[in-house]
């Protein structure tokens, strides 16, 4: 990584990229290989490669303990974990699901598979999180479920959402994909609402190659979901629930997750260190604000989100283009918001001025296990270079016809 001294050296104008290996926003945890092999040996020796094998059983117990919940059910992906849980929980005969628009880009796809209509709610401008206040106006006679999605830094007001769901007697599912390790004023993430959903994709805190899981304290729901993920079979030849499919987690992915879980404390310590470096260095760059973790509670420190303030001198798209050319794979935070994405399935129309404004302002910066302390210094230096030379960059971009 050679520090750049001038705008002309930027990769977008033909210079070499700051990083040879791209620095992404994916976590890409590499768990301890020996541990992975040791877990693998369990299923290998039993010749049981899937279908609720020894690692899946152990993992579900370990994750339930980790989240301090009674039950955990694993799935082939977070996407299908959430889809099946919505399908199990949604009030029959109701058509809408209340959910944020400023969230995971595939969330409406999940809702389309369960034949519900997204009814998008606003988020709070300061926290980027949905709240009881933003959800309440969206709840109506058609509401089948509230899908409460935590933002990627800090959490929603859990107590407020739980109270609202209880008041309205509507099922509440938390999507806690970005909040695996988090605790809040309400307690540890995992045991709120009817259930909480998580992902085991390689880009998340727990790398299981791919996969997902649900935590819940409801025995009936846990049973129903573990049946549904395996076609509805209670026993050989005996299907006892409808809505089944194949959403089983295989044993290799379970072994990988177990090895990841074993190293979670060490990982979080490293994440915290990376976060602290960003927090120490970013204030020197004008016009950019780090979204800080609420350190009164336990946090995983995985994601780094910054706001480009009104004083930031370059538009976000240009900023991203310059960074990406340097192999700094920063991404626009949940942009475009879901209500602006084309949907060929039913959805409730929405005007969301707060979401619209926020969707233009935030960036995810590189994080995860392949980003070193020196890399962070290089990334922040690059932001400084952009900030200090924005007009020149703008001019050159136009001259070069990059836009």
């Amino acid at each position: 990584m050679a520090k750049k001294s001038g705008v002309e050296e930027l990769a977008i104008f033909g210079g070499s990229s700051l990083f040879v290996i791209p620095k992404s926003t994916s976590n890409l945890l590499r768990p301890d290989f020996k541990k992975f092999l040791s877990y693998s040996k369990m299923f290998f020796d039993q010749h049981q490669y899937t279908n609720n094998g020894p690692n899946v059983k152990l993992l579900e117990q370990r994750l339930a303990d980790f989240h301090q919940t009674e039950f955990c059910v694993t799935f082939c992906s977070g996407f299908w974990a959430i889809a099946l849980t919505i399908s199990a929980l949604a009030l029959k005969g109701k058509s809408e699901i209340v959910m944020p628009s400023l969230t995971y880009r595939r969330m409406t796809d999940i809702v389309a598979w369960v034949n519900l209509k997204p009814h998008f709610c606003e988020v709070e401008p300061t926290t980027l999180a949905m709240s009881a206040a933003t959800v309440r106006p969206c709840v109506n006679a058609h509401t089948a479920l509230i899908l409460a999605v935590h933002p990627i830094v800090n959490c929603c007001d859990i107590d407020g959402l739980v109270a609202l769901a209880k008041e309205k007697n509507i099922p509440l599912l938390f999507d806690s994909v970005e909040s695996v390790y988090e605790s809040t004023a309400s307690g540890k993430v995992g045991s709120f609402g009817n259930a909480e959903g998580f992902s085991l994709h390689a880009c998340k805190l727990m790398n299981g190659f791919g996969g997902g899981y649900i935590t819940t304290n409801e025995a009936g729901l846990a049973r129903q979901l573990s049946l549904m993920r395996g076609f509805g079979f209670e026993d050989i030849d005996k299907i006892v629930v409808s809505g089944g499919m194949n959403a089983k987690l295989n044993e290799m992915h379970a072994a990988m997750t177990l090895a990841s879980l074993d190293g979670v404390e060490e990982q979080v310590a490293h994440n915290r260190q990376r976060y602290y470096i960003y927090r120490r260095l970013l204030p020197a760059i004008p016009g950019i604000r780090l979204l800080e973790f609420d350190e009164r509670y336990r946090a995983g420190y995985k994601n780094i989100v910054v706001e480009l303030l009104d004083s930031w001198p370059l538009c976000r798209a240009d900023t991203l283009a310059v960074l990406n050319a340097e192999n700094i794979l920063a991404r626009a935070y949940y942009s475009p918001p879901l209500h602006h994405k084309p949907m060929t399935f039913a959805n409730a129309s929405a005007e969301l001025p707060v979401t619209d404004r926020l969707a233009e302002r935030f960036l995810n910066l590189p994080c995860g296990q392949l980003v070193s302390n020196a890399d962070i210094a290089g990334i922040v230096d690059m932001l400084g270079l952009i900030s200090g030379n924005a007009n020149r960059i703008s001019d050159l971009l136009r001259e070069n016809g990059v836009e």
Binding site: L28, R30, F33, H47, N115, A202, T344
Partner: protein, 396 residues
């Protein structure tokens, strides 16, 4: 053999531990360790990684198909195909198949139309399909069972003549050919299962094959795929990517295919020789193919000839630690939710009902040896010979 020799009546089981049914081929520990060492070195775990891409390329070569699109499992693969083909209304499929075939339709918002089957081949009854086609039927889902085929060429003619689309659940058919053409090349698309119980295993996994460029692009966008050259507009994604772990196992499994197929065929021939001597046990031959993977040993039990009913035979085998099973059971039309939602089919699918009442699946694959086949067949022979005594003692 007296009944006292049967584990069902307290004797020591013929096998020390349960002998499972499925294929369960898996690489050696050394190969497993080496493959995963490579993955951990590369730190590429998912999202169209190098092993995944290599697997797709090798599958395309092996099958002679233009597009092999790997997915997390075959059920989601079938759901994706229904979406990508833009199906609507109703889809015809046999009632004698695994539940996933029908569940894929339900998830895709489609209504299954159950067709009866041919008693001799167990495959969909071609002569009954036209009678089931009405204006709401948009496609036929052929199902290639037991390492045989459901006659994809005839089905193609039928589908074309009736103006409906055609695709296949080929979960059982990896490596099989019809007149020298690999299954995977028929209809608009075919879906293979790479579940651990199949000849090509990714532990979980599957693959969609098609020779239709546009359909392939839609499928890749539904999966979705990173780095797709031409992302196209689709209704919804399905998050069905195959990980590097799954791809690693599937690549080794593909490498081992010739050896595993040969092992299956050898075991199948052992079964064939001995089962053909037992009255009332009728082994199903993989019909309609020029080459079979022999991944299933399925018999129908004629209770009158054999002497004891199918379900009791399964009890006898289970007690001996042979995990024989009824398969498929029950027919889709008698399964939740279709038994309630589509009650029209009750008592209209007589061949399906008949097979569901008589079919038995026996072990074949990695954990089965010639000796274990011999031992299983001995149990079957003795069960037949002692049938009267067994029935009488069991009833007591």
């Amino acid at each position: 053999m007296s009944t006292t020799n049967f584990a069902l009546f307290g004797a020591k089981p013929a096998f020390d531990k349960p002998l499972p049914i499925g294929q369960l081929y898996f690489p050696s520990w050394q190969r497993y360790e080496a493959a995963f060492h490579g993955i951990f070195e590369r730190q590429y775990y998912n999202n169209n990684g190098p092993l995944h891409n290599k697997l797709e390329e090798k599958l395309q070569q092996f099958l002679g198909v233009q597009h092999a699109i790997c997915v997390s499992n075959a059920t989601i693969g079938l759901m994706m195909v229904a979406d990508a083909m833009g199906l609507s209304g109703k889809v015809i499929l046999p009632a004698f198949t695994f539940i996933a075939s029908a569940q894929s339709l339900t998830w895709a918002g489609l209504k299954p139309v159950f067709c009866d089957i041919n008693l001799a081949t167990h495959q969909i009854a071609l002569d009954q399909i036209s009678g089931l086609i009405d204006k709401d039927v948009s496609a036929i889902m052929g199902v290639n069972l037991w390492g045989g085929s459901c006659n994809p060429k005839e089905l193609s003619k039928l589908a074309a003549a009736n103006g409906v689309q055609l695709y296949f659940d080929s979960a059982h058919a990896f490596g099989c050919t019809v007149d020298g053409v690999s299954i995977g090349n028929f209809g608009d698309a075919e879906v293979f299962s790479f579940h651990a119980t199949k000849i090509l295993s990714a532990t979980e996994g599957g693959c969609i094959c098609t020779n239709d460029e546009n359909l392939a692009e839609r499928l890749r966008s539904i999966r979705p795929s990173y780095g797709t050259d031409n992302p196209v507009s689709i209704v919804r994604v399905a998050n069905a990517r195959m990980s590097e772990a799954q791809a690693a196992i599937a690549l080794m499994s593909l490498e081992d295919f010739p050896e595993n197929q040969k092992n299956n065929e050898t075991l199948y021939r052992y079964y064939e020789t001995q089962l053909d001597t037992i009255p009332g046990l009728h082994l199903v031959r993989p019909t309609g193919v020029s080459f079979s993977n022999y991944q299933y040993v399925v018999c129908s039990v004629d209770e009158r000839e054999f002497g004891i009913p199918r379900d009791l035979l399964i009890e006898i085998l289970k007690a001996e630690n042979v995990v024989a099973r009824r398969y498929f059971y029950p027919g889709l039309h008698r399964t939740i939710p279709y038994v309630n939602d589509l009650s029209y089919y009750q008592d209209r699918l007589l061949n399906t009902d008949s097979l569901c009442a008589s079919c038995i699946q026996l072990p074949i694959g990695a954990l089965v040896t010639a000796q274990s086949v011999e031992r299983i067949c001995n149990i079957l022979i003795q069960a037949h010979q002692s049938s009267a005594e067994i029935s009488s003692r069991y009833e007591k």
